[in-house]
């Protein structure tokens, strides 16, 4: 029992103390641990670390790419918005100009039309005046002649009866009309 409790004092013919190492195991333990450390240091760790670095780079690259794309999209949007605002401003300006120009054109046209109308009216009035003067002058002369002719006829012919008298007047009027239309024809020519 005592030998079990204190294995270091065990007799030589029994198993050696479990606290005493075998030399071979010390050597193998050292060799194996060094081998493993070298295998990990030379192969496994570099390979895994490279994969991790690649992974990080891939993720970061993807993120940077996405960020760049986002920035690009934002720049394009800003540009379009700016262009749109400019176009709107320009359109407003053009509309404003057009309105101004239209108003100006209308005013000008109105003025022109007024002037023209005035001119036409003035011209027509002058013409009417001239024609009337002319008509008065010609009428005056003709009335004198007609009155003279009529008087001569009345005096020269004997007025026997009422029928005859009427005929005379009618003839006179017909002649008068005739001469009137002849005169008018001559007047239009002139």
């Amino acid at each position: 029992m005592l030998t079990l409790l204190l294995p270091l004092t065990e007799a030589a013919d029994e198993a050696p103390s479990p606290l005493l190492p075998h030399t071979a195991e010390i050597i193998f333990g050292f060799v194996f641990l060094v081998l493993l450390a070298i295998a990990f240091a030379k192969v496994v760790v570099p390979k895994f670390e490279k994969a991790y670095a690649d992974r990080t780079a891939a993720i970061e690259g993807g993120m940077n790419e996405a960020k760049a794309a986002q920035a690009e999209a934002k720049a394009a949007l800003d540009k379009y918005n700016a262009q749109l605002a400019e176009a709107r401003q320009e359109a407003a300006k053009i509309r404003e100009d057009a309105r101004e120009q239209g108003a100006q054109i209308i005013a000008e046209m109105r003025e022109q039309a007024n002037a023209e109308a005035e001119r036409i009216v003035t011209h027509a009035r002058a013409q009417i005046d001239a024609e009337r003067t002319q008509a008065v002058a010609s009428l005056r002369g003709e009335v004198g002649t007609m009155a003279t002719t009529l008087a001569g006829r009345i005096v020269g012919e004997s007025l026997e009866d009422e029928a005859r008298q009427r005929r005379t007047v009618e003839r006179f009027l017909a002649e008068l009309e005739e001469s009137e239309s002849a005169r008018q024809a001559v007047g239009t020519d002139g």
């Binding site: 198993a15 050696p16 030399t23 195991e25 050292f30 450390a37 496994v44």
Partner: protein, 260 residues
């Protein structure tokens, strides 16, 4: 040894861990050496295969390898040593972790069923390597005097306590650490295996050789207990591998830590 004939029960002891050489005459080629060598082959084969074509998008094998590698790299090395210096120690810590883990779990793998670290030589060599590494990097960073000052004179302790503090800190930080590291691992593996042997051999004796039906019934319960203990041992085996490597990383981290 037939049922019904009582024979004497030989309790399992340290002699059960002394297996004969596998090849007669080659004394060094024992079961733990074979198991350890197999573990190295398996670790190198697995991680070489997992990392050989390491790519941005991992294969299933690479993913499994990264899982194990990341566990040691991030959860153990980086957390304990700090992100500035930890990469230098990742190869050793990873190799150490998987070496201890596989050799511990070997105690549960059928047909192998032997914990390499129940032979204390393996535990000694692993602890001494960790001890050499953490002291060496500490001395390299702070110089011999600076390192001893860093390890034995904690900041904020009054000067009149120093005669007491310096020996205590020296013993605890420099002398005891390799012993505690190796003994913890060895004792857990040794005790776990011997516990299992007690339950399995004892159950076997009770069932087949005690010659009593009542004791045979207890023997069956003992077998069931052995199953439960095997499950517990699997947990202990993984935990011990983790503790050994976490402590190594912490010793390295504290050896190169800046004064605070």
């Amino acid at each position: 040894m037939t049922a019904g004939v009582p024979t004497e029960f030989n309790p399992p002891g340290p002699q059960n861990f002394e297996t004969p050489p596998i090849i007669h005459g080659v004394d060094w080629f024992t079961k733990p050496v074979l198991v350890a060598a197999l573990s190295v082959v398996v670790i190198v084969w697995f991680f070489w295969g997992a990392s050989r074509k390491a790519a941005i998008v991992p294969s299933k094998l690479q993913f499994a390898g990264e899982l194990g590698y990341n566990f040691v790299r991030n959860s153990i090395a980086r957390d304990a040593i700090g992100s500035a210096d930890y990469m230098k120690f990742v190869p050793y810590l990873t190799g150490l972790f998987f070496f201890i883990l596989l050799n511990n779990v070997a105690a549960t793998i059928p047909l192998i069923q032997f914990p390499t670290f129940s032979h204390i030589g393996w535990a000694y060599v692993a602890a001494i390597m960790s001890w050499v590494i953490y002291n060496a990097v500490g001395i390299k960073k702070k110089g011999l005097w600076g390192y001893f000052k860093h390890q034995t004179m904690p900041a904020g302790v009054p000067i009149w306590l120093m005669p007491l503090m310096i020996p205590i800190e020296f013993i605890s930080n420099i002398l005891v650490r390799p012993i505690s590291l190796s003994l913890r691992l060895f004792a857990n593996m040794f005790a776990g295996h011997i516990l299992l042997l007690v339950f399995v051999l004892g159950g076997e004796y009770m069932v087949f050789e005690s010659g009593s039906i009542a004791i045979g019934g207890v023997g069956i319960i003992t077998f069931l207990m052995a199953l439960a203990i095997a499950g517990l041992e699997l947990f202990v085996q993984a935990i011990q591998a983790y503790i050994f490597v976490v402590l190594t990383a912490q010793y390295i981290g504290s050896a190169i830590a800046d004064e605070h």
